[in-house]
Subunit: 510 residues, 2 copies
């Protein structure tokens, strides 16, 4: 096909014409209008070339001191900041997120902050868990895996972007080349970020294949890539269907694959907390559930409470606030379709719509702020369907008959990134807290008290992970440096290896 | 079926009649004669009952101080020692291994040593990597996963036994109940060990379902178990076919699965080392390759060297020693069949037999000590087939045309547990060492210098792991406490959780 009008792909240090088998453009979700630029869907030849360049880059990267990785990451953060206005303008066009505060004041600083934290961790040997046993002549340490492909999600065009986000920073700082797959709903943002990465690569002299980017792949090439022998690992954030396809391909050849997929993030409000501070809880829930049009992995999608007068007042207040609040722009046509399908699935399984549930009467992609409810009996009858993720500004309330029923309801929950319990400050919920927490804790990656789950601090103590299907492996976190870097390592052991031949990190251990 | 004559299974603290769908007995591999005892192949009902009991036990175990796990592990080690003679006699009958030194003086002390090291690690919080971030109100730590099923291999009836070995010790010490699947070639040994475990459980008051054992499972029940929602993880050591079936079942539901499968453990002998100490190398290789009739995961199965006069002398000396050495008993009829099939696959792919290659003329299961050779061109043409594992006393020599060809040969190697390089003491091989090590290192879990790979020290710096297909995930090790325990944990994070509600391990972190 004619590739002259298509944006180029970034392979082996060069922006070059794709061996395209198709093309796509992004849309402005606030208007539904297509944006001008045309991006290529690559043939396998591009993927193969990227894998070859990454393999060569990895050979070189293994011989470089970690400070070179840190230099690159810091230079990249600087470069992003120097083009911040342009990047945020493009990201806003492609996602509908406001330039300020969301992009410029929150997500961009988070992104550059992650890169700089990863730079610090790149030169810190401790997270690699070096162990030396002189008596046995043994030494072991976590080493990089090889080229990592990163598939970023649609909802964080900067902080989770395949070419600039948390997975990127963790994989690169651990010593691996990254092949980024741009997200189809914000390719222009990906391109600007990749240009910054290129400038930083060139300024700091990392090998050309250390970072690369492709815009689009056919589904079969995506799974072929995930199972390619040259690849070290796969990192993916997005839908369960796409994640499971990559997982199957990687699993079949024993390739590490780290997925962050669906999560409905149960919140349990115990009766004492409700009696004590109902209107405060309404404020917190509205703010967390509708922030960013609910398009967060940790959006509180399902709320468990005990039915009755207090719950009905809470629900009524919540519905009033959902109805009055402006409904935000969704990220894409696909996000709108997914949200409506999610709501329909919940209704089909027995939930009833309290408010919203339909497309909003305004330009672009938007659904009215949606509240649904279902009783405990119904929930337990079809718990799987009633945990369908309705990604966006929709919330399901599950009303128990009595507080003692809550643990049994929670026991029906699948694995989630987070789980919250609100309990009274005066201790009257404590016995119920214990009973609920016992069941909730093993089902979530992060257990919260008296706090909504949105807001994932980049802290060394963070876990942005959890049991399947929230992720593909409950041992690892996608956020939190250095812990997130361990995903992109293998354990390497040296037995009787002559001292001068040990990696520097082990040679310097006492 | 009539279960009166069958050994009982150990479920929920009781030895009870299996809901059997079949039965089997073990054989004495030194004679080929069946042993008396009859063991049940369980129906799913037994598996289901074990899962229920394990789930209940896990609930209780999470509330116990870790010292209780340590008490059990120590009591179990003591109990094994008190019945050592009986256990080693049975294990010798079922495996053909000599009672002494192999079982009584090496494997049994290793087994009890592992249990005691795991006891120490159970009460040591450091390997759980607790992290507290007071400013963010976050704390994270590695917590147990839930019931773990352990499938042990045939070749270590004590130290890797599902009910007493390394995986068992690691899973239990990390806080998980264990459901052990006895190996069909040494069920009597499993039963004696389980009796010791039961005595220790009762003496230390761990819940009844903390350790359980089933003797036989239908294949479909094994995979159903691996994918059961109540299970925390799967640990398996054995053949690639069985391991991959369990992996597929566990992967489909995002369940952690840790496999140790096939490994041919390449050894590279560089020309300088050969010139310097050929007869010493013959001694080392014969000793490592034929020890235990070659039935070790880290048996040196494939040797790379440069062809020529020195290599021919080495080969001739090796063949003479292989022919002169007694050929040991293989573990079972299946092991003998597998070894012969492996040898045939190598021959079919172009290797020629230097010596051995056929069933040995003696009672029981045995194959003549076997040496094969193949040239570099042939190896590169069909590298996959020429890496077929011939588990037992068989060794393939690959002869390169010149030393510069070695990296390209090694680049054809699949993932392995170990890789060794022998180089001259005087430094003349150093450049070749660097070139070979660069390619070998990422393909193995443990890189050795001037040392054969058999002998896996239980050291905190050990890695008994490696890239697929040696294992299912290159981040983890099956040997080495505490590192091996991390496999059986998930990352758990507490966000704004009130201090009195934190797990003890986090509450005491500063």
């Amino acid at each position: 096909m004619d590739t002259a009008t298509l944006c180029k792909v970034w392979i082996g240090g060069q922006w070059r014409s794709a061996t395209a088998v198709g093309s796509f453009s992004a849309e402005n979700p606030a208007t539904g209008k297509a944006l001008d630029a045309q991006y290529p869907v690559s043939d396998w030849a591009d993927v193969d070339a990227a894998l070859e360049a990454a393999t060569k880059a990895f050979d070189v990267m293994q011989t470089l001191p970690p400070s070179r990785l840190a230099d690159f990451l810091n230079a990249y953060a600087d470069k992003i900041e120097s083009r911040a206005a342009e990047i945020c303008k493009m990201a806003s066009l492609e996602t509908g997120y406001p330039e300020s505060p969301r992009l410029k004041d929150v997500e961009l600083p988070r992104t550059t902050g992650q890169l700089r934290k990863a730079a610090v961790a790149a030169v810190d040997p401790s997270w690699r868990l070096p162990v030396v046993d002189k008596a046995c002549g043994l030494a072991s340490v976590l080493e990089p895996l090889g080229p990592v492909v990163v598939f970023g999600p649609n909802n964080f065009p900067l902080a989770y972007n395949g070419v600039s986000g948390g997975d990127f920073a963790a994989a690169l700082a651990a010593g691996n080349p990254v092949i980024a797959k741009a997200h189809s709903s914000h390719p222009g943002t990906c391109r600007l970020l990749a240009e910054c990465a290129q400038a930083a690569l060139e300024a700091t002299g990392l090998p050309a294949g250390a970072v690369q980017m492709l815009f689009g792949l056919r589904r079969e090439d995506g799974t072929r890539l995930a199972g390619d022998r040259r690849l070290g690992a796969v990192a993916f954030t997005g839908s369960r269907v796409a994640g499971m396809a990559l997982k199957a391909a990687a699993d079949a050849v024993g390739k590490p694959v780290f997925l962050e997929m669906s999560s409905v993030n149960p919140v349990v409000i115990l009766p004492g907390a409700l009696a004590e501070r109902s209107s405060e809880l309404v404020d917190e829930l509205v703010s967390s559930a509708l922030m960013g049009t609910g398009q967060f992995c940790t959006n509180p999608g399902i709320i468990f409470m005990v039915g009755g007068a207090a719950a009905e007042s809470f629900l009524a207040a919540l519905a009033a606030r959902y109805t009055a609040a402006p409904c935000g722009t969704l990220l894409s046509r696909g996000t709108q379709r997914g949200l409506l399908e999610g709501i329909q699935a919940l209704v089909k399984a027995g939930a009833s719509v309290v408010c919203g549930g339909t497309v909003a009467d305004r330009p672009g992609y938007a659904v009215a702020n949606t509240l649904l409810r279902v009783d405990a009996r119904r929930f337990m009858q079809d718990a799987e369907a009633l945990q369908t993720e309705a990604f966006g500004n929709a919330t399901l309330m599950v009303l128990a008959d009595r507080v003692e029923q809550l643990p049994a309801l929670i026991a029906c929950c699948e694995g989630n990134l987070t789980g919250c319990i609100y309990s009274a400050r005066d201790g009257r919920d404590d016995a119920d807290y214990t009973a609920v927490a016992r069941v909730l804790r093993p089902r979530v990656g992060r257990l919260l008290n008296d706090k909504m789950p949105t807001g994932v601090a980049v802290s060394p103590a963070m876990n942005h992970g959890g049991p399947f299907p929230a992720t593909g492996h409950p041992h690892f976190t996608a956020v939190g440096i250095p812990a997130s870097m361990r995903r992109f390592t293998r354990l390497a052991c040296y037995d009787n290896v002559r001292p001068g031949r040990l990696p520097a990190i082990l040679a310097t251990q006492s």
